[in-house]
């Protein structure tokens, strides 16, 4: 529209100036042309386009940018368009809708825990392992437990980039004064319910504030993460047969909630912290320890001078750290272009091979050649908790579970009931009902 006033007056005797409509049409055609060019639809450009969706914000997002730059240097022929969407339920809604519409990005990040809900519904396309091998990535490069979760009906639907467990962060000064460090400066004495409770009280005394911080109120997943980790540490199993009812070991669940109620007693450790509150309390020194995913590492390294990190201690019978894995997937395309599929494979292989940068952000690289490299081993405190990746407690392998799912929101309520509501027994009751109700549902997205 602004083209018209700016048009210079036509010289006398020249052809009549183009009409207003002609100008608009011309401008429209120009805009359309440039838009086509920008999206790489111009034929014969020789460049392969890879659209990549992720949900990484903050420090993670910055790391992804660095990795994308490295990929660009190593494979300049890949034209990568990266889009970052907000974490959580909206991300998975958008990814599902894009796949349904057949206009999904060539590749995207998916939490491994969401795969059982995605792969059977036809929302994803399997990877071509020969093609991946061509770009230097094979099944043998990954922890077998993790790799098994990528497979559905014999086809590989995901390539894991990391394992991201829940760990313990602590202030080494406070922990030392509380007498919790051994000769090597490692946490000690927290390997039993009693030991953990005592440690939290000692921390509160030594730090003058709270003992252990954990944010879960109004959070979609935190309550479940902590419960599920400890429940697995008791060795109990959880059956979720189709049609229900759920097989919850109520005794084990009660042990877990009673233990947690004792830790977060409202005297030495707050029972009702929201996620940001807990993070801020630890970062500002008002509590000595934080139970959190290792993804908070970049933030904490900037804010806590004497930061220590350790795998979550084996409070009950067997080791286990709640973990999920960010994995690459190929969302279903309406009209798959072999060239783009190939480009997507190359992109995924390169990202996985460049995941040392990802390790710097706190995540444990899933690609063994990186995880076992001296460069990664030299990272601290990452290497202090890297062992947590060996005993991952993953979500139950059912269609409704997983990060950012409605199931997580629902089952996370139980912890709040145990800590600030009607107590551990009511929490077990509520959890049992919720699990039954979920097991009874049919998968709305199932084929």
């Amino acid at each position: 529209m602004s083209l018209i006033p700016r048009r210079p007056p036509p010289p006398a005797g020249s052809a009549p100036p183009p009409s207003r409509r002609g100008m608009l049409l011309g401008a429209g055609a120009l805009a359309l042309g440039s838009a086509l060019g920008a999206t790489g639809c111009s034929p014969g450009s020789g460049d392969a386009q890879v659209r990549f969706w992720s949900l990484f914000q903050g420090g993670d997002g910055a790391r992804v940018e660095t990795m994308l730059e490295a990929v660009h240097e190593q494979a300049p022929h890949l034209r990568v368009t990266s889009s970052t969407l907000a974490w959580g339920p909206p991300y998975y809604t958008k990814l599902a809708v894009a796949s349904v519409g057949g206009r999904a990005p060539e590749t995207a990040i998916l939490h491994m825990s969401r795969l059982p809900g995605y792969a059977p519904g036809g929302l994803l396309q399997p990877f071509d392992l020969d093609l991946l091998a061509e770009f230097g990535v094979t099944a043998e490069d990954f922890v077998p437990d993790l790799w098994d979760r990528c497979i559905h009906d014999g086809a590989t639907y995901a390539i894991p980039m990391d394992t991201h467990p829940v760990v313990l962060f602590y202030d080494t000064g406070t922990a030392d004064r509380a007498g919790l460090l051994d000769g090597d400066g490692r946490l000690t004495g927290m390997d039993s319910p009693e030991g953990f409770v005592e440690a939290s009280r000692a921390l509160a005394e030594a730090g003058g504030g709270g003992g252990v911080s954990f944010g879960h109120v109004n959070d979609d997943s935190q309550g479940w993460r902590l419960f599920w980790m400890l429940y697995n540490q008791t060795g109990a199993s959880l059956e979720l047969p189709e049609g229900g009812p759920a097989g919850l070991d109520r005794e084990a669940a009660l042990r877990v909630f009673e233990f947690l109620a004792e830790v977060f007693d409202g005297q030495t450790s707050e029972p009702n912290q929201a996620y940001p509150t807990a993070l801020a309390a630890f970062a500002s020194g008002r509590s000595g320890m934080l139970i959190s995913g290792e993804w908070e590492l970049p933030y904490l390294m900037d804010h806590v001078e004497d930061l220590g990190a350790a795998p979550f201690p084996t409070v009950f019978e067997q080791p286990g750290s709640y973990a999920d894995s960010h994995a690459f997937v190929l969302p279903r395309q309406g009209d798959p272009d072999p060239e783009r599929v190939r480009a997507a494979h190359e992109f995924v292989a390169l990202m996985v091979r460049n995941s040392l940068t990802w390790g710097e952000a706190g995540h444990i690289p899933a690609y063994s050649p990186v995880a076992q490299s001296p460069e990664y081993q030299a990272l601290t405190p990452q290497s202090d908790y890297a062992v947590a990746g060996e005993t991952p407690v993953l979500d139950p392998e059912v269609w409704f579970a997983g990060a950012g799912s409605q199931f997580h929101t629902d089952v996370s309520q139980a912890l709040r009931i145990a800590l600030t509501g009607n107590g551990p027994e009511a929490a077990v009751e509520e959890l049992g009902l919720t699990l039954d109700s979920w097991a009874a549902r049919t998968d709305p997205g199932g084929a």
């Binding site: 809604t93 109004n218 509150t277 801020a280 008002r286 950012g404 709305p444």
Partner: protein
């Protein structure tokens, strides 16, 4: 502008060219070009595509078990509606929605009225009051929530710090089940009261001055003038504000989604939030649509009440 310069030129064009042959096509085209439909078409198109069509297809969806990812889609009759009526969470979230509507509508009317009367009766620096009362309304919801989240933080937020000054124990503004809904309401009132304030102020300014003069001559003091002149004159505005507010509060979503996500527990989950949860996060489009239509009936009821009231007033 082009319309202004274009229209006088029309008779000229007619004079220069011989009149059009009486062809049906040309006549038809001209009749179409002259009809108001040309001007209505853009609106009708948008209205049809973005309102009427979704309304109809949503209604159809509510009778199927279609999922967000396109699976399902079989006709299930009234099954979704039956399930919705027996779903305890529907009733609970509906209860939350009604509670929210009650505890926001009342203060949003009363506070707005009080503020506008105060400003109108001559507080010095009128423009400053008008500006500060209305300004929050212009803020996007994300900004509002960001600021209020800080105020509500338990251990270093402003509110708990102030309570601490008076030796009182801090509240779990967003983390205590009994308090969270009130916090959401407080934020909402602060955020949106400016709009009602503006409506009231406009109404106050249109109260004829001679009514006050006559009242003053009859010896009415300031209080009597407020009681017997101002408030009765504002009755019409109050009805409009009340009903607009009820409709706005019933469809609350944004601030709750951003402040508490519906928690703690389900204490602040509104019905719309629940519809979003089952439909978008839980993929159950058909069921979500059914709950939406049940809610629509309720909202239509309120709207019909509004129509009835305004018709009665006119009558």
């Amino acid at each position: 502008m082009s319309a202004l310069t274009g229209s006088p030129a029309r008779p000229d064009t007619g004079a220069e060219h011989p009149p059009d042959p009486p062809g049906a096509l040309t006549r038809g085209r001209r009749r179409f070009a002259d009809s108001p439909l040309v001007f209505l078409l853009p609106f009708l198109l948008v209205y049809g595509v973005f309102l009427l069509w979704p309304l109809v297809s949503g209604l159809w969806m509510s009778f199927t078990d279609i999922a967000l990812n396109g699976a399902g889609g079989a006709f299930v009759g009234l099954e979704n509606y039956a399930e919705a009526l027996g779903d305890p969470l529907v009733w609970r979230t509906l209860g939350n929605t009604v509670l929210f509507t009650l505890i926001t509508t009342v203060p949003l009317v009363v506070v707005a009225l009080a503020m506008s009367v105060l400003v109108h009766t001559g507080l010095p620096g009128q423009w400053l009051w008008r500006l500060s009362f209305f300004l929050p309304f212009l803020l996007p919801v994300a900004t509002v929530v960001l600021v209020w989240n800080f105020l509500y933080v338990e251990d270093f937020g402003l509110f708990n710090s102030v309570l601490g000054l008076f030796g009182m124990e801090g509240l779990g503004w967003l983390t205590d089940e009994g308090v969270a809904m009130w916090s959401v309401a407080l934020t909402t009132v602060w955020w949106t009261v400016g709009f009602n304030f503006l409506l009231y102020l406009a109404a106050l300014q249109s109260v004829p001055a001679h009514l006050y003069e006559a009242a003053a001559l009859d010896g009415a003091g300031a209080w009597a003038r407020l009681r017997y002149v101002t408030l009765p004159q504002l009755r019409g505005t109050t009805v409009v504000v009340l009903l607009l507010q009820m409709l706005a509060s019933l469809k609350v979503f944004d601030q709750i989604y951003l402040l508490t996500g519906g928690g703690p527990g389900d204490s602040t989950r509104s019905l719309l939030l629940y519809i979003y949860d089952v439909g978008f996060t839980g993929y159950r489009f058909g069921y979500g649509a059914a709950v939406s239509y049940l809610f629509l009936v309720l909202v239509l009821g309120v709207a019909a009440f509004q129509l009835w009231i305004s018709a009665r007033r006119r009558g």
